[in-house]
Symmetry: C2
Subunit: 221 residues, 2 copies
Amino acid sequence: MSTPVPEATVARLPIYLRSLRELAEMGVKTVSSNRLAELSGVNAAKVRKDLSYLGSYGVRGVGYEVRYLIFQTSRELGLTGDRGIVIAGAGHLGQALANYPGFAQKGCRICAMVDVDPEKVGSELGGVPVVGPDRVPEVMDQNPGAIVVVATPAAVAQEVVDRFVAAGAHSILNFAPVVLSVPEGVAVRQVDMALELQVLSFYAEQGERSASARRVQSVGS
Amino acid sequence: MSTPVPEATVARLPIYLRSLRELAEMGVKTVSSNRLAELSGVNAAKVRKDLSYLGSYGVRGVGYEVRYLIFQTSRELGLTGDRGIVIAGAGHLGQALANYPGFAQKGCRICAMVDVDPEKVGSELGGVPVVGPDRVPEVMDQNPGAIVVVATPAAVAQEVVDRFVAAGAHSILNFAPVVLSVPEGVAVRQVDMALELQVLSFYAEQGERSASARRVQSVGS
DNA sequence: TAGATTGTTAATCGATTAACAATC
DNA sequence: TAGATTGTTAATCGATTAACAATC
């Protein structure tokens, strides 16, 4: 049993991967932790520490081979093969996601959409079959390791998630503006623009306060 | 000078606020740190610590008055008055955001969109005027404390941000899949579904590994 | 008063990072 | 070899949380 990869490290691996792909694109063969850190907006020691969780893939005095590191990082993230995605909720957002071509590009395959609307169940939206909630266990069995994308109204998100977790879901991307409660071992990531805007509002207010303080200061001095 | 509010605390205030609004909606007058913690998916001690940065707004033996705490939290987040938003990039995403009715609901006012396309500049999209990049300083001056939402292609995001920062922007919500580099004192929040999916892929893979290990175990035993 | 709950201290925990021996 | 850079240790930092005196 190796050391578990810390959450903070897992969250940074996709950023490194993006930087590495850019380098590969540019024909760069080898990269130092320093350069990779710069491209990824982090500290070089952190890069080395993070990468050390994957193994010893660097060469002292030389750096990391870009293509090999891409391979190892992708492998660690489980980005080999194609990853199934099940969309819960076939409303506006769900349909927009189903039509989004970026998924296939990134090695993701949308297996199904789940909705309660009998008008939608049985049809296809954006080439993806829509099934009823009763078929959740079946969908999850047929697509082990699928990521569930929650695009339902907030009011029903928790019960929907409970159903998916009971059917074996381990990974959930939540667009509904609610805190989901899930058992140990289930990973949840949240995408919530309204929340982010409120956080930024705090700093915008702060920025304004110090900006006006500076204005007062310079007028006063 | 009071203690600065830690970043982690600022990021949680909008979650508390959402829980508090739900409680108010339900007619609840008073809430304990325990209940608020439960609703917000965090530890009760953390709630009390976080709220203590705003001031002493609780009553020992009783709890926090919901309406008053909503007021204080909103004030701390700068959610009083209306917050200006400038959208950089009038493409698909930018237009979708301009048409999103949720902004006005949350006390946000979209001041302008900025785009380089001469076809778009001078027009209105979703009721929002589109201006050229040369008018960025003017827009930021007229809307102090505005949040910049970056909805441009990744390739130009950094230069666009540089322009806005030079014009006095303090808060940036970035939808472009790039790491932005900004000076000290400028806040950036990132919304990136592809990144979140890759993080979840890691845990989906892990979940599958342990699930299949369990299957092997139970077959073997 | 007795019970409840805050606000805060201090312990704990985990993540970050400087520093440097190992080594290409 | 000399210079560069990794991998890892240990110090530092900040965030979390248990515990409890204060007090309604």
